[in-house]
Amino acid sequence: MTAMQGLGAAIKRREDPDLLNGTAKFAADVCLPDMAHVVILHSDQAHAMIKGIDTTAAAAMPGVIRIFTGADLAGKLMPLVCIWKPAGVESHFPSHPYGVPGAQTALATDRVRYVGEWVAAVVAETHAQAVAALPAIKVDYEPLPVVIDAEAALKEGAPMLHDGVPGNLCAVVAYGDKAATDAAIASADVVIRQKVSIPRQIHHPIETRATLARYDASTEDYTLWTNTQIPHGNRFMIANLVLGIPYNKLRVIVPNIGGGFGSKGYLYQDAPLMLVLAKEVGRPVKWVDSREGVARTTVHCRGQEQYGTLAGGRDGKIAALSVTNYVNLGAYPATNGPGAPLVLTGRSVTGAYVIPHPFYEAHLAFANTVMLGPARGAGRMEAILLIERLVDMFAREIGMDPAEVRCRNMVPPDHFPFENGLGWTYDSGDYVTALDKALEKIGYGDMASRKTEARARGKRLGVGIGSYVTIAGVGPSARMGREGLIGSTWGSAVVRVHQTGEVTVITGSQPHGQGHVTTFSQIIAEQLGVDINRIEVIHSDSHGVPYGQGSFGSRTFSVEGAAIFIAAGKVKEKAIKVGAHMFGVAEDLVTYEDGGVRLKSDPKQVKTLQDIASALWFAWDLPAGMDPGLEATSYFDPEDFNFPFGTHAALVEIDEQTGGVEVVRYVGVDDVGIVGNPGIVEGQLQGSIAYGFGPVLSEQVVYDDGGNLLTGNLDTYPIPRPSEMPSFELSRTVTPTSMNPMGAKGAGDISQPAVAPAIINAICDALSDLGVRHIDIPATPEKIWRVMQGQSK
């Protein structure tokens, strides 16, 4: 039976009955006796001094327990922190008393810097009473000039946001050899220049942020229930850098999470604030955000202004790539805000290609908007869209098929490990095979007749390719440290076999919908032959477990999973020693198979894992010098990242009159190495594509010039429905990696970057005879209509 449950088996997810039956508990479901409710007053000003806050009338409203402003919190908590300090360059951040890069304060004190910034917290008996009191709080603002994008913020004379950040410049970071790249561009036959604007997007997981905090005055213990992707990181930052309390006085528990997509991988203001409020009012307090709150106070993502130059020859060979990127980090840095636009975009812009002379430069600025952070496909989506657009434009310029240009420049299978010139070492791959499969599946050779047929129906048909290489498996800790992360990214696991034969796995990962419990159970089933129903997976509670890094960056299976695999291997080694001892034979005469230690000479003779765990529990007769108990701990720090890859292809039809675009077919060929659960991997790959659709066709954050968010709810921020997407036709190739013992690469967010180029290249293909070279995302019907009219919007 267990053979059907090991790695490679597409078993159903163990998590799903609880989720599908509606019995699963989320942060907002957790209630404590005597709990009070907190509602936050957001700034309606993008940039203003706070001259005064009058809470008198609001405090007298029914049910209001207390109202807190920034002034009430003086000395009780420090600003939040940014744990990504760009390495090797001068950088500037808001200040923090400990000298680390600072971020926003839980509540604004003298000044607000974006619409949505937290200004006051109402604690009341009920949520409705707290909401009712909000309008009665009177804030006296003195407006300041507003700047909402990076390039404007970096101009001379722009309004300054922070005293310690001259010219709003966080940092300028460069990778590659600029002089050599410029020289290669200058001497090239063909040079393509294109600005690619990638607007901000909002993650919008189904579940908003939510936090419940309790303080026990007798023990001075704090407990936090919150939906963070990094529970241990929250504990560490809150205790040591924000509240200044002993680390072991704070417990962080994460219930089920209703999606994160990267938006919950931070320390936000609610977590430390609720802990302080719980202590101040002497009662547990709960805060649950609204959908508008998600748009205004949870990070946004993407948001890059890229100036790309690609140079090459008429033979289709790319010679050089130069990119200058402007990125608005928001009014304050998010916990890891600088990471994605620097490393994830910057080192990834060469995509799947051998580019002899690459150069990347990013200018990070602060401006009067919500903070910026990574999202599914973080940084790489922006990089892959840019390179895939430039490659297509290059192909059209030299009159060569875009697929042929890709083929001529892709890293060949015998060139691995391959250094891309901007700091990545691609571990393994066969890029051309994935490309060929995708082309074959979409019927690439047969487009001319289809275009003619579509035109007869008033439609313009186009085909587009998105080839990608995506860094995953975050990551090697020392390397992350060199990039600027003030932290570590190894995996951790404990595997404990109880005397009953059941197994407990403790993981440092943090599942928020990906099916980790199932996949991790399969690792144990594979290694130890234990039925998955006898395996429990503990996670997301800092109490009594080793530090865990959480889930992000397509790291879980290949890093945290590897830690479990290794720990289970250690358990197996010990079990073999004990099993041989129980048989009274030498170790080399036994083997571990199908749930127990067997005599090689007579495999029917078996000491089951339960027999062995029991013997180690009694400890009456163990090999000399062996400790009792059957468990192992593993910390796995990979040697390097892993690099999944693939090619997607899209077929679009554009209405010639309205500009409306329909994606009629979507094909993906992905390679994530060896997989744990193919069903779960397929789900992740499908989800990545669905997540990629929104930004291409409809999603975008829009601010007006005054810094007001025009897309602050779901009436104005369009997330595509499944009915607007075709069936995704997916297949995989399998190229293992040597970066972990399972040969697995990341899968959670690696193919999202392919979606935008596949669809946008298809749209540009459909419009190419009109002279359209480029269209920025989102390709809304009006934008397409305008380019068809020869206008640019």
């Binding site: 409705a128 009712a132 609204s290 009159q657 309205t658 409306g660 066709l697 409809s698 829009v702 025009l710 779901l714 009436d715 104005t716 921020y717 369009p718 997330i719 595509p720 429905r721 009915s723 607007e724 809304t780 019907p781 009006e782 209509w785 305008r786």
Partner: protein, 285 residues
């Protein structure tokens, strides 16, 4: 939502009485608009009056003269699925089938959709071109109202305080009608939608036509200029195209960051042409 009082009487006159006696009260039908509003803090009333217990309000039945009467509490989904409606007015059933999404269609009601008077309502322009008559009951008794007189502004209607729509009647079979739209990807309302209804003379000219727009205009409204231009004309492609192309922004159009006014005017022309062509083809056959 703060705690609201709730009443669900079984008699229409009690409903009207409660509405008349509680000026802040709100009428609850399918709740697809009303239940969004408390979240947006726009509801000030303290009494919800639910129509669900009034018998017969969801009935669909044949009316005198070969038409069909549809009760106000009929869900949009039921309209889409009803054979009698499909016979009498295919365009209404077709349009109902593309309103919102399945969950919305299963809850939202015809009456609620009318009263909400959403600027991008899909059903509104269709009802405007079909010669629909609304049945209304209020403190002063029952009255009928031509649908064309119902929408008076964005979110505004000709209903007096405490009046309730109880049903609509499509007077006779109308096959020469069509609806075309492009939807807003966020709200699923129409960015632009155009309904056209055409009756041809025995000589094959356009004897009568009604055209109404939604989404692109500030509220669902008829387009009298193009109706007038086409009346008496031959319904050939050139005439239809010329008439649709003559639509201009007379001040009634709207725009936002997703779709500008200029683009919506363009869409109105394109979709008018398409709706008219389909309507004419259906009128002929």
């Amino acid at each position: 939502m703060s705690q609201s009082a709730y009443a669900a009487p079984a008699k229409l006159d009690e409903i009207v009485g409660l509405l008349a006696g509680n000026p802040g009260a709100h009428l609850l039908a399918g709740g697809q608009n009303l239940l969004l509003e408390p979240r947006r803090s726009q509801i000030t009333g303290s009494l919800l009056v639910d129509l669900r217990n009034v018998p017969g309000l969801a009935a669909i039945q044949a009316s005198a003269g070969g038409g069909v009467r549809i009760g106000a509490m009929t869900t949009i989904g039921a309209i889409a699925d009803n054979a009698a409606i499909r016979d009498v007015s295919p365009v209404l059933a077709e349009t109902a089938a593309i309103v919102g999404d399945a969950q919305v269609r299963n809850r939202a009601t015809l009456g609620g959709a009318l009263v909400a008077a959403e600027p991008g309502s899909d059903l509104a322009p269709v009802l405007l071109v079909l010669g629909v008559v609304l049945e209304i009951t209020g403190p002063k008794g029952a009255r009928s109202l031509d649908a064309s007189a119902f929408f008076t502004g964005p979110g505004k209607t000709a209903l007096a305080p405490a009046e309730v729509i109880t049903g609509i009647t499509i007077p006779s079979t109308v096959t020469g009608a069509a609806y075309e739209r492009m939807k807003d990807p966020a709200t699923l309302y129409a960015v632009c939608g155009v309904a056209a209804c055409v009756v041809l003379s025995q000589q094959g000219a356009i004897a009568r036509c009604q055209i109404a727009a939604t989404g692109s205009t500030a509220y669902p409204m008829r387009l009298p200029a193009i109706e007038k231009a086409l009346t008496g004309a031959k319904p050939d492609a050139a005439a239809v195209s010329a008439a649709a192309g003559a639509i201009t922004d007379d001040g009634g159009f709207r725009g936002n960051f997703y779709a500008s006014k200029e683009y919506r005017v363009h869409l109105t022309r394109v979709l008018t042409e398409r709706a008219l062509k389909r309507a004419v083809a259906r009128a002929t056959t």
